[in-house]
Symmetry: C2
């Protein structure tokens, strides 16, 4: 009889070994996600660290990159000089080491033909390689450039803005990261079912194009032409922001008739809105009508917010079941975190080389528990251990590789 | 001997059956992704369709939702009146039907305790349920509200903007979708390895908090306070936009010394930049120095762009290897698509109920091939076939369910 299990389950990817040979956001965030789900993730860096090793933001305390330390949490770090033949051989050997739960690779290598899928598959036929690149034709691209090419920059920002507005969040990078984890795990399922390996490639530019197309926006533009900017209003429904009397800001959203009725009730505008409905012949239970008349509806509600403090508005909105939120700065988030009232997805972590940092667990809760969290390893910290465990290198061999500068990290 | 395989491989999730009981963006985009990777995805809608069935954008041709049709491509559609006991029983039975490759559920059900993990697990102990919700404490939230709470709205937009700027792209929804597919496939791996089912939950608010934390931004704010807006400049390196003489706009990015040197060469500013380097004592091969002096550096380069047409600038930038892109409207993307020069991730699809639409394949290429693409089924189109195949209902039983209004779709 199976014993009853207590406590949180074993992380779902326990036992998997993934090699990450990537830098910046998309690939490293994929590796971090897999590590958070229990996989052993080995990040391979070229000698001295990849181009992202010093990327901003950096800590004022030590100069170390908060960005790098965040995106590489929970991984093992191996440092290898890939300009050398022997270094490349080690990277290939690590990536194609045997085992049902190994032979799994995420990379964004550019201009490294020696690390192609064919080169890996020649050593291990069922290798699974997920390559993240810029464009599907092989050309380069980064989040900041693909975002300008899909039209979102012309919809973002205040209605009177005359220039494109970039997003600051590298949304396409983050989305490419979880697209890569999805690809890798789907291919692992196929390998367990059919025995076949996989050559999977994801172009950041394609992630952006598909992301916009999936909302129906390109089809809309083909029918109607470009949509104008509409500031902070939500497209096609009612969502608007308001300033309170004490100069705070809130966003309210009414996607459903129930949410709309709650908003009218909370703001005491039900009668005015009903009269407007009669006057303009619009049924505001229809979200399209709410969108069409958004400026007027927002104007009707604005005085209610202006006459109240954020606390007063918050109570009334919450009591009536309005879907709303308060605009927060990142400092506000940190203040909440330090007061212990932020979501437990955020957690304090002692990051060697930096000190305490505001870190995050993976947002996937498993039987109501967030998964484990671990700091980033120092660059090359696991080089010897990984090469010994995975490839069986001896102390003498490791010593020679250190002496010749082919591997880095502590001896 | 294994025969040599020709053509693209079988899609990786062929044979899986996933039940999606969700609406709006995050859950449906997860189901769509799984369908694109080969799974049989059954979307269950309540009678008349969920709250997203008419969501904008809608087609001018037929009034049908381009949004809904896009996010539900490639799925089977089942329509069930879940206000009835028998309807709920059918939903539970579909979700927990037997088979190694079934018992997989994605949902965003709110206020439906009958569809809890415990209710499903009581029928099938190893069920895998991925629930997408608003907040980790069970409270409601949508993309537009969680985005205001993580501080990104205060960094986005022109530097002189005094109000928060929402993103227009529902980035957190899309990211939650691929987080859900990652969760489901990780749990499937665990089930194949250990036999255990999974109760997985993802809060949209947690996806946003973790997304920002993973970039190191909250840690930075704790050390330095809030970062000011910097318009379209890229933080911590050099990225800037420029207007050309013919009133087009380009984004150029130099994250590496090589990209920076290419940009100086292309714009003929190498000597001026070198002189500035001496004058201010900054090494512009260091990206932090490029960021600090971004305004001056951009000012030095601006006349070069202003003196050229977009075509002239494009040729010079491309020849020298600058990382750059052109700002495009969505109409520009559609024009390129119609001219056959957009990425093949975009594809024309004949959507029943609408007509030809600009659709997208999944961005994951499998042995260099994009996966299959299929239109959205009409609401309830597969109700009878799915209930017959999966639960063995007879024609007489289906007829009775139609007569009593418990199931919808064509008889």
């Amino acid at each position: 009889m199976t014993p009853v299990l207590h406590g949180p389950p074993t992380p779902p990817l326990t036992g998997l070994r993934v090699v990450e040979f990537a830098s910046f956001v998309a690939g490293p965030s994929a590796g971090m996600t897999l590590a958070q789900l229990g996989a052993e993730v080995i990040r391979i860096d070229p000698a001295g660290g990849a181009a992202d090793f010093h990327r901003w933001p950096v800590s004022q305390r030590t100069g170390a990159s908060l960005y790098w330390a965040s995106l590489n949490r929970g991984k093992r770090s191996v440092e290898i000089d890939v300009r050398t033949e022997r270094g490349r051989e080690l990277v290939l050997a690590l990536s194609t080491a045997p085992g049902d739960h190994a032979g799994l690779v995420v990379d964004n290598a550019v201009g490294r033909p020696w690390f192609s899928y064919d080169a890996l598959a020649a050593r291990r036929g069922d290798v699974i390689k997920v390559h993240i690149g810029g464009r599907s034709d092989g050309g380069p691209a980064v989040d900041y450039t693909v975002n300008t090419e899909v039209g979102v920059t012309d919809l973002t920002g205040p209605a009177d803005t005359r220039t494109p507005v970039n997003h600051v969040l590298p949304a396409w990078d983050l989305l490419a990261g979880t697209t890569a984890t999805t690809a890798l795990l789907a291919a692992l399922h196929r390998r367990r079912t059919t025995g076949h390996g996989s050559d999977l490639r994801i172009a950041l530019a394609d992630v952006a194009l598909a992301g916009v197309a999936n909302l129906g926006w390109f089809s809309e533009v083909r029918e109607r032409g470009d949509r104008p900017r509409h500031g902070n209003f939500v497209y096609g429904s009612f969502g608007a922001d308001f300033r309170t009397g004490d100069d705070e800001r809130v966003m309210v959203v009414a996607l459903t008739p129930r949410q709309w009725q709650a908003l009218c009730e909370a703001t005491g505008t039900a009668k005015v809105v009903a009269a407007l409905s009669d006057a303009v012949g619009a049924d505001f239970d229809d979200e399209a009508a709410r969108y069409t008349h958004r400026e007027t509806l927002a104007a009707i509600m604005r005085p209610w917010f202006a006459a109240r403090t954020i606390d007063e508005a918050a109570e009334a909105l919450t009591t009536t079941g309005v879907l709303w939120s308060r605009y927060r700065t990142m400092s506000d988030v940190v203040t909440d975190f330090e007061a212990g009232i932020a979501s437990p997805v955020l957690t304090e972590l002692d990051q060697p080389g930096i000190g305490p940092v505001v870190s995050a667990r993976n947002p996937i809760r498993d039987s109501s528990e967030y998964g484990p969290v671990a700091p980033a390893a120092a660059l090359g910290a696991d080089t010897d251990a990984v090469l010994a465990e995975t490839l069986g290198l001896t102390d003498a061999e490791l010593g020679a590789l250190h002496d010749s500068g082919i591997i880095g990290g502590p001896c």
